[in-house]
């Protein structure tokens, strides 16, 4: 039985905190931990019977309840879990089997979903949406593997509301009506799922307020095709691409899409320039923001937006060589608040940077730091460096426990200079795998770096 207090926290986290970003980050540590522990207990009880993989993991370890926060650590999934299907299922379009695989990773009931008629990834995602109310997001990693994460619509909606609060409000400030409820121009790339929930929350459905980068719009099938072509080329065997013939035939669409993207982007940039003076939230990758800002700044141009506007820079350099002062360039070019966020598509948190440059964790994300070699949890006290792991309390569609591939430095205890009480992460975050070695290293066995280079383009999406 979920207590009403915890229930509200899980289903309406925005309301629980009075829709105040300041309140979200002002919980006393003890209170926060009590709340999170209760929420974890509730989530485990709720999800264990519904998510088969969670049940399997719990059974193997003899875990029957989660009482303290630490108890959930052995139940965290590897982030690769959502890519752990046999590639052949995708290559041979066996979407019914893929659905079986997915069924074990979601609390949704997929028993009534008939995917046998699906002839593309897009049609499979549509079938899940229409038949089971599951709105999946998809991701790519440098290995070229496609990951699928199941969400309920409600999960997306809650997340969108939480994002608005986190992105637009500043700690310590009382939010105005326009920050809370007024329409905001939303500038971003299209979402990796079917509906633009965040756009809805920001714009209230008002026309003319959504400015998506159509040049970055692609279908999951075309992205997957592009990945397979690259992998085949890297293997030195382009005659053997593992995709269905019908998809392979769409190769030209890829090229055409890339060309279209270039002039679509130009139009989009013009559109943004035309929003000067307006209240905007611009979600952007560092490289994209930099490549817009640098040449224009050099020409003496600056773009100025209404007070309260924010540029939220999320995502790493993604293989692009950014100069050391990239952020400074963007800040000089854009007259609005520039903020970074440590986020990933698997999480419904935006760990937004405060004025002291630290990323603060919202209360619905329980943060763990694990030993990178053993995955044992380090104490949740003091300053800890290691492998980042989270429990995301918001989503019901999938199990919120996840171990990432990132190394972070977390300060659990000390009060951040910005005044927020929430745990905070140091600005430098590294992929654990990159510790493999430098760029002048030569070995005679084919290493994953070769694949990673081929896959760089994918993570620009």
């Amino acid at each position: 039985m979920i207590g009403s207090d915890v229930d509200q926290f899980l289903t309406h986290p925005g309301d629980y905190f009075g829709r105040s970003h300041t309140a979200m980050h002002s919980l006393e540590r003890k209170h926060l931990e009590e709340l999170q522990a209760a929420a974890l207990t509730a989530r485990f009880e709720q999800q264990r019977p519904r998510i088969a993989m969670l049940g399997r993991l719990a059974d193997r370890q003899g875990i029957t309840s989660v009482d303290r926060i630490e108890d959930v650590v052995p139940l965290l999934f590897e982030h690769t879990m959502y890519k752990s299907y046999p590639l052949a299922l995708l290559e041979r379009q066996m979407f019914d089997k893929l659905t079986d695989w997915l069924a074990k990773l979601t609390s949704a009931d997929l028993s009534g979903t008939d995917a046998t008629g699906c002839d593309s990834i897009a049609s499979w995602l549509a079938a899940l949406d229409v038949q089971a109310d599951v709105e999946m997001s998809y991701t790519f990693g440098t290995s070229g593997l496609m990951g699928f994460l199941p969400w309920f619509r409600r999960d997306h909606e809650i997340y969108a509301e939480a994002r608005r609060i986190s992105h637009l409000q500043r700690f310590g400030e009382q939010p105005t009506w326009s920050v809370l409820d007024g329409p905001v121009h939303y500038i971003s790339s299209p979402a990796r799922w079917r509906h633009e929930y965040f756009a809805d929350v920001l714009t209230g459905g008002q026309p003319g307020y959504v400015h998506l980068r159509e040049g970055a719009r692609s279908s999951p099938d075309l992205l997957w095709l592009a990945a397979q072509l690259r992998l085949a080329a890297a293997r030195g065997d382009v005659s053997h691409v593992s995709v269905p013939a019908a998809l392979l035939a769409r190769r030209d669409e890829l090229k055409a899409g890339q060309q279209r993207a270039r002039w679509l982007d130009e139009a989009w940039i013009e559109e943004i320039a035309g929003l000067q003076g307006q209240f905007v939230l611009w979600c952007v990758l560092p490289h994209d923001a930099y490549s817009i800002a640098a040449p224009r700044l050099e020409r003496g141009e600056r773009w100025s937006f209404a007070p309260g506007s924010v540029a939220l820079i999320a995502g790493g350099a993604k293989g692009h060589d950014l100069p050391a002062d990239w952020r400074n360039t963007i800040e000089r070019f854009l007259d609005l608040r520039v903020v970074t966020s440590y986020s990933m598509s698997e999480l419904s948190g935006a760990n937004v940077e405060c004025e002291r440059g630290r990323h603060h964790i919202p209360p619905w994300l329980v943060l763990f730091v694990l030993d990178p070699d053993t995955s044992r949890p380090l104490p949740r006290q003091g300053v800890q460096t290691g492998r980042a792991a989270f429990f995301d309390l918001l989503p019901e569609g999938h199990w919120g426990g996840l171990m990432t591939g990132d190394e972070v430095e977390v300060d659990f205890d000390s009060l951040c200079g910005c005044g927020a009480q929430s745990p905070h992460i140091a600005p430098r975050i590294e992929r654990l795998a990159t510790k493999r070695g430098g760029d002048d290293k030569i070995t005679c066995a084919a290493t994953p770096e070769a694949h990673a280079e081929a896959m760089q383009f994918l993570i620009d999406f």
């Binding site: 399997r56 993991l57 999934f77 590897e78 982030h79 690769t80 879990m81 890519k83 752990s84 299907y85 046999p86 590639l87 052949a88 290559e91 695989w101 991701t139 990693g141 290995s143 593997l145 293997r235 030195g236 065997d237 053997h240 999320a314 790493g316 350099a317 970074t340 440590y342 986020s343 990933m344 070699d373 492998r387 171990m403 990432t404 591939g405 990132d406 430098r428 975050i429 590294e430 992929r431 654990l432 795998a433 990159t434 510790k435 493999r436 070695g437 430098g438 760029d439 002048d440 290293k441 030569i442 070995t443 005679c444 084919a446 290493t447 994953p448 770096e449 070769a450 694949h451 280079e453």
Partner: protein, 516 residues
């Protein structure tokens, strides 16, 4: 997954920064040092700024190779034999120094590093060098002219001459530098070694020993060892010129080649050795008998475990031809036996990985719960593991397999196995031998370059082609001396117009015809 990449973080051994001197043709240079930052598992070290030595690094003219031709082949063997005995790590302080630094940078634990260094001297055994030279190039070609007479009575004499080469060598073992130096010596070549950041020390130790042993010997005078960052234009633009260098031998595939290709032009040849992967293929009949299964399992374990699966010939995928029947249970039995044998390999041959890729571990752990599609055996302590695919496909992250992690994959037939080989496939270990005979004439079309009996992937003879090319032959310059029989000439000026339009002017036939 978004991150902000951090700055290079140097690591040092005991807090001190080691120095890798430059060795240039008998001289040991350790002045004008510049620091090279390490990251991850490469050390920060100091080395002389190569830009200050650009004039002494290459030979100033190809004619300077002459002193090597004053040496007889036995003289060369004498030198190498002496060098080999001096490289004994028990008595050679340079080798000890390199070995101690290699502990930090090598993907191998100490015991395997020791193994490598203990074996370095063995490559220099005179009989072994002689056999290598003979089987790869041919002693007759190396030491003189080999004549052959063609149908038209022309005599072609061919000799393999040494060339001026820059070698961009791989770093995981001191043996690469040893092999390069030996090959340069018996081909009477000039050899500049550019060391990699993951091992700038072992090549220096060998070359340093050469300087102490015989500083004025021609072979010593034709070796240089130095470090510069691959892509350092100031060095490469000056050095990679056809009037200074004949050949660049680049190991490591794209990583090394990408800096080099812009300099390639007529007169400067690139020999590129790509990183390779290797696999195994087993006839499913072994699954039907306990004894055969055990034997196959042991052989697989050796090909996977030797050198901790780090080498280009290490097996990462094992294809088992199972036919139409469902073989998951029997393959799982094979998998369990492979794991058992892997764990039982002697420590000097194979150990638990020094560092296990966290991304690989994450992928493997995610599969443990996917009982419907995979059986995962072992690996809970990074000791190595066996993944049995239930479907006839490798795991999606096959490119990451390392640390003694092997994937057993059922395939229906030999035909289904062929498309698994590609341009990156180097070695395929086969069992039983009868299966190999069915493969050898077809699999090369798909890319396979080397077939071995299962269990012998790591047994490199260095006396045959490597990566599909005759490397030692390509390092030489093949010169031809063509001699034609004297024929009576018809002087054009004598008024004789008998040259027939059907004969190619200038050919012996035309002149003979005119004369007759």
């Amino acid at each position: 997954m978004p991150t902000v990449t951090g700055d290079a973080r140097p690591t040092t051994v005991d807090g001190t920064i080691p120095t890798a001197p430059m060795i240039v043709r008998g001289q040991v240079i350790a002045s004008d040092l510049t620091e090279f930052q390490g990251r991850g598992d490469t050390l920060t070290f100091r080395a002389p700024d190569p830009r200050l030595h650009l004039s002494s690094l290459p030979l100033s003219s190809p004619g300077e190779l002459r002193d090597l031709y004053a040496l007889s082949f036995d003289d060369i063997l004498d030198y190498l034999e002496e060098l080999g005995s001096r490289l004994d790590v028990r008595t050679n302080m340079h080798m000890q120094w390199a070995r101690d630094l290699t502990y930090a940078t090598s993907p191998h634990p100490k015991i395997l590093v020791d193994n490598d260094f203990d074996g370095a001297g063995l490559m220099f055994d005179r009989d072994q060098v002689r056999e290598r030279a003979d089987k790869t190039v041919g002693l007759a070609y190396l030491n003189g002219w080999v004549a052959t007479t063609l149908r038209d009575k022309t005599t072609l004499s061919v000799r393999a001459f040494g060339a001026r080469g820059v070698h961009i060598i791989p770093g995981q073992s001191p043996l690469s530098a040893a092999r390069t130096i030996i090959t340069a010596a018996f081909t009477r070549s000039d050899c500049i070694i550019k060391t990699p950041s993951n091992n700038p020390f072992a090549p220096v130790a060998i070359a340093w020993t050469m300087c102490e042993m015989a500083p004025d010997h021609p072979i010593t005078k034709h070796i240089a060892v130095g470090y510069w960052r691959g892509g350092d234009e100031a060095v490469e633009r000056s050095l990679y010129q056809p009037h200074l260098i004949d050949k660049i031998i680049a190991w490591g595939g794209f990583a090394s080649v990408k800096h080099v290709t812009r300099y390639i032009q007529p007169g400067l040849e690139l020999i590129s050795l790509d990183p390779k992967n290797s696999c195994s293929i087993v006839d499913g009949v072994v699954l039907d008998q306990e004894k055969a299964m055990r034997e196959a399992a042991l052989r697989i374990a050796v090909d996977v475990g030797a050198l901790n699966q780090v080498g280009c010939s290490s097996s990462r995928l094992v294809y088992v031809i199972t036919g139409e029947q469902d073989s998951v249970e029997r393959l799982s039995s094979l998998g369990r036996l492979v794991y058992e044998e892997l764990m039982g390999l002697p420590e000097r041959m194979s150990t638990k990985a020094k560092w296990y890729d966290p991304e690989l571990r994450s992928n493997v752990d995610a599969l443990r719960l996917q009982d419907d599609w995979y059986t995962v055996i072992g690996g809970g302590d990074d000791e190595g593991c066996v993944i049995v695919s239930h479907l006839p496909d490798p795991v999606g992250f096959a490119g990451l397999l390392s640390g003694r992690t092997v994937n057993i994959v059922p395939v229906k037939s030999l035909d289904d196995a062929m498309p698994r080989f590609n341009a990156y496939t180097q070695t395929v270990g086969v069992y039983p031998e009868s299966l190999k005979q069915r493969l050898v004439d077809i699999a090369p079309f798909y890319g396979v370059q080397r077939f071995v009996s299962l269990g012998y992937a790591g047994h490199h003879t260095w006396s045959g082609p490597h990566d599909g090319i005759e490397l030692e032959r390509r390092m030489c310059k093949w010169v031809v001396d063509q001699r034609s029989e004297p024929v009576p000439l018809a002087y054009a000026g004598s008024g004789n117009r008998a040259i027939h339009p059907a004969h190619v002017p200038g050919s012996a036939e035309a002149v003979r015809a005119a004369a007759s």
